[in-house]
């Protein structure tokens, strides 16, 4: 009664007035197609041998979250600062942005985030498992061995690394010239692996006996000692005094020796070692000439390295094969045979000699760099063994009388590259962890469940059950990107020393970029298949059926009201959604 007396007198409206909302109409019942968030795989990440989550890394860089970007790389690769310098970046070759204007400078951005972390001495926050029982020995402290130790340590295993030389790093320390990889960068990366508790025992050469006796202390041995034995040319005079092998030459230079070279120096071979040797020789005063039996496009060396070598003044003689090296008053007389292309099968052309066409050249020095092999037979994975399990970049052998052996790095990888070595170390860690936890027979299926896209790249984040497991393995194609949301913008040009400055010494050629340039470059990224929280789905929904939410996605679709029009899916610039039958 009191209430009635207090309520104000409301005049009857002259026209009918609405007093409730439309929210009681559950328009979701109209729907026959259903949108949902469906993150997919970016082509770059599937092409990265180390399976780095590149689309996400670039998204984090564009948001200014440099530490998180660095940690995202460290999930999959212990060497961002190294790979940001020396990787052959197959990621950029498949970048969807290439179809629009130009690929993202992924390589440069990887180095940028790592250098930023190094400059500020940042420690990564990456989850580690508690210590497990089994111990693993790692033979060789090159990129594959260190990567294996890094991933095994994160999985909780105690690792001892044995290195024959005085310092760790393998090819990274002794084979890659300083102008591509400064030593402080390598030291910093290795320091972080050591801080995980990995013991690196230098000056500790391991023999085949070690494998026999290792069972007392180790449940597994990772063999990643690389290819260090030189391959013979098989021609007269190749063992003459002063005819030198490429890798030991690079090692001498890297150790600080500066042999005095002058005049024409012949480098025989077409791989990365040959190119690095020629560029070092140039810096030491020589006029280097690379003698290669095939053509430039057949050279196994990375194209951009060949290009820089030629730019600096290295000469390339294509389709000439050495026949003989003989002493000469001014050094050596090199007899060369003209070759011609016989067939274009496979990745490299088949060549044959052109009868009767030879030439001679006089050079002050000959350096051989035609490839390398394992130093000793026990370092190679055994053939045809019933207990041999071959994965993409490793080979595992189970023995009745000793620890499991894993052959990795150059000994078993698909290609000889630092990124493949990292992939090999990661694959080994996953395989051994699966073996220790679930047994030998589980290895293949568990490792293949961590494939990025169609593989063979693997993701440690997926192995550990992280967010990335929810990604659809479908690799996003250019046609699936809504390019209306992107404007043409030029690709970042990697700043470099001028060629005149480069050849003065061994200073690093690639220069730093500013944060402003890194942000601009990262913003060019389509972030193929992953949500970067652009919010278009929420903005354009005619039914206000996309709501903010505190789940990891940041938003959810309210199916009470979603009519299934699909506007959100089409307006998603990066194909991170799907529309399917309800």
């Amino acid at each position: 009664m009191t209430e009635q007396m207090l309520s104000p007198i409301v005049p009857t409206p002259l026209i009918p007035r609405s007093f409730t909302t439309t929210e009681s109409n559950k328009t979701g019942s109209w729907r026959f197609l259903k949108p949902r968030y469906d993150e997919k795989t970016a082509p770059c990440s599937a092409a990265c041998p180390a399976g780095e989550d590149i689309a996400r890394v670039e998204m984090l860089v564009a948001q200014g979250l440099f530490k998180e970007a660095w940690e995202t790389i460290l999930q999959e690769n212990p060497f961002p600062a190294v790979c940001g310098r020396v990787c052959f970046h197959p990621c950029e070759g498949v970048c969807n942005r290439k179809e629009f204007d130009d690929a993202i400078a992924i390589h440069t951005l990887e180095r940028f985030v790592a250098d930023t972390a190094m400059r500020y001495g940042i420690q990564p926050d990456i989850a580690r498992r508690p210590v497990q029982g089994p111990r693993v020995a790692v033979v060789g402290s090159g990129p594959s061995g260190l990567a294996a130790a890094y991933f095994l340590a994160r999985l909780g295993y105690t690792c001892d690394v044995f290195e024959a030389k005085s310092e760790p790093g393998g090819i990274l320390r002794w084979g890659i010239p300083l102008y591509r990889l400064p030593v402080n960068v390598l030291e910093w990366e290795i320091g972080r692996i050591r801080s995980l508790g990995v013991e690196i025992h230098c000056n500790h050469r391991v023999s085949s006996d070690f494998l026999r006796d290792a069972g007392d202390r180790y449940q597994a041995v990772f063999i990643g000692c690389g290819h260090h034995r030189n391959v013979d040319l098989g021609i007269p005079g190749e063992n003459l005094d002063g005819v030198e092998e490429g890798l030991p030459f690079l090692e001498r230079v890297r150790a600080g020796e500066r042999p005095d070279l002058s005049g024409a120096v012949a480098i025989i071979g077409g791989g990365n070692t040959a190119v690095d040797v020629s560029r070092c020789a140039l810096r030491l005063g020589a006029k280097p000439v690379i003698v290669y039996r095939r053509r430039r496009q057949d050279m196994p060396a990375f194209e951009h390295e060949i290009e820089m070598a030629l730019e600096e003044g290295v000469e390339l003689m294509e389709l000439w094969a050495p026949l003989e090296i003989a002493p000469h008053a001014d050094g050596y007389r090199l007899v060369l045979q003209k070759m011609e292309v016989a067939a274009e099968e496979g990745p490299r052309a088949q060549v044959r000699p052109v009868p009767g066409e030879t030439r001679e050249m006089v050079v002050s020095k000959v350096l051989k760099a035609i490839g390398n092999a394992a130093e000793e037979a026990w370092m190679e994975p055994p053939e045809g063994d019933g207990k041999l399990l071959r994965l993409a970049n490793t080979a595992l052998v189970r023995r009745d009388d000793g620890p499991v052996l894993v052959y990795g790095g150059d000994l078993a990888a698909l290609e000889k590259s630092v990124a493949h070595a990292v992939a090999s170390g990661k694959e080994a860690a996953m395989a051994l962890d699966t073996y220790f936890q679930d047994g030998w027979d589980a290895i293949e299926s568990k490792v293949s469940a961590c494939r990025v896209g169609q593989g063979p790249s693997l993701s440690m984040e997926m192995y550990l059950g992280g967010e990335r497991c929810r990604r659809n393995p479908h690799v996003v194609a250019f046609q699936e990107i809504n390019t209306d949301y992107f404007l043409f913008s030029p690709r970042l040009a990697q700043p470099r020393l001028l060629k005149e400055e480069r050849i003065q010494g061994f200073s690093e050629i690639d220069l730093k970029i500013s944060a402003a340039l890194a942000l601009r470059e990262a913003e060019r990224c389509f972030n193929c298949g992953i949500c970067n929280q652009c919010d278009n789905c929420r903005l354009f929904c005619p039914d206000l059926a996309v709501c903010r939410d505190d789940n990891p996605q940041g938003r959810r679709i309210n199916y009470d009201y979603c009519k299934g029009c699909g506007v959100c899916v089409v307006e998603c610039p990066r194909n991170a959604m799907a529309l399917e039958q309800d």
């Binding site: 609405s18 278009n536 903005l539 005619p542 039914d543 206000l544 309210n558 506007v567 529309l579």
Partner: protein
Amino acid sequence: MELDVLDRDYMCSGHVGCPGCGAAIAMRFLLKALGEKTMMVIPACCWSIIAGPHPQSTLKVPVLHTAFETGGAVASGIRAALDAKGDTETTVVTWAGDGGTFDIGFQALSGAVERNEDFIYVCYDNEAYMNTGVQRSSSTPYGAWTTTTPGQEWKRLRKKNIVEALVAHRIPYAATASIAFPEDLVRKVKKAKGIKGSRFLHIYASCPTGWRIPSEMAIKIARMAVQTNIFPLYEVENGVRYTINYMPKGYLVREYFKLQGRFKHLTDNDLEQIQEMVNEDWELLLRKAGVSMSAAGTVA
């Protein structure tokens, strides 16, 4: 590239617009920019239905539903009533479809803006009488099928240029906007809100049902209308100062036409003819804006 658009909505779920309704998206953006101090007049149009049956309303601002031809007059009256109450804060907006603007409501609109009444008139244009079953209006474009221009009797008359008709009244502000360009749309609504006198906004709002397009293409097609110069984004101040807001990238009109069922009967010849008409309109607009053709990168 994140779009920078205000977060708060003044509209609810559960409205009865068709899936992918461009007019619903247009209303969302309009109210984001205007805020709650808004009174809205809706003459007969799709939105008379979308807003919900009595006693429901999907909008969080007051709405007066009114007769088809009265959009301009009713808004003038509400403005006068608010002025009499001393309320200068509330913005009065008429929200009408193309039928209520181009055809049936044109007299009241022309009268109101000639008197320079202080309100914003927004026409959300879906290019036919969609609510009553897709009958042609004077906004229906050349070449379109409707239920009153069926089969080979498709509309062979040009769309009325409503913005130029309003510009001829020398009103303080007239502009076009599109649901595919929310930042531009919101900016124009805010700009209009800050101006006194009659303001006119022509918002392109795709209609999946009437245009015979898949609902998920609603925004894409609205964007293409702008990219092809079929619906240029521009604004005119005081009837003379033209500013073009979007310069085209050279898309051809056929790209826009071939995606829509309402144009599927058109031959290559028809499309060429339409391309010429669009080029002509665009060149005329460039001349008014004082932009040289080469600077605008016009499609040859």
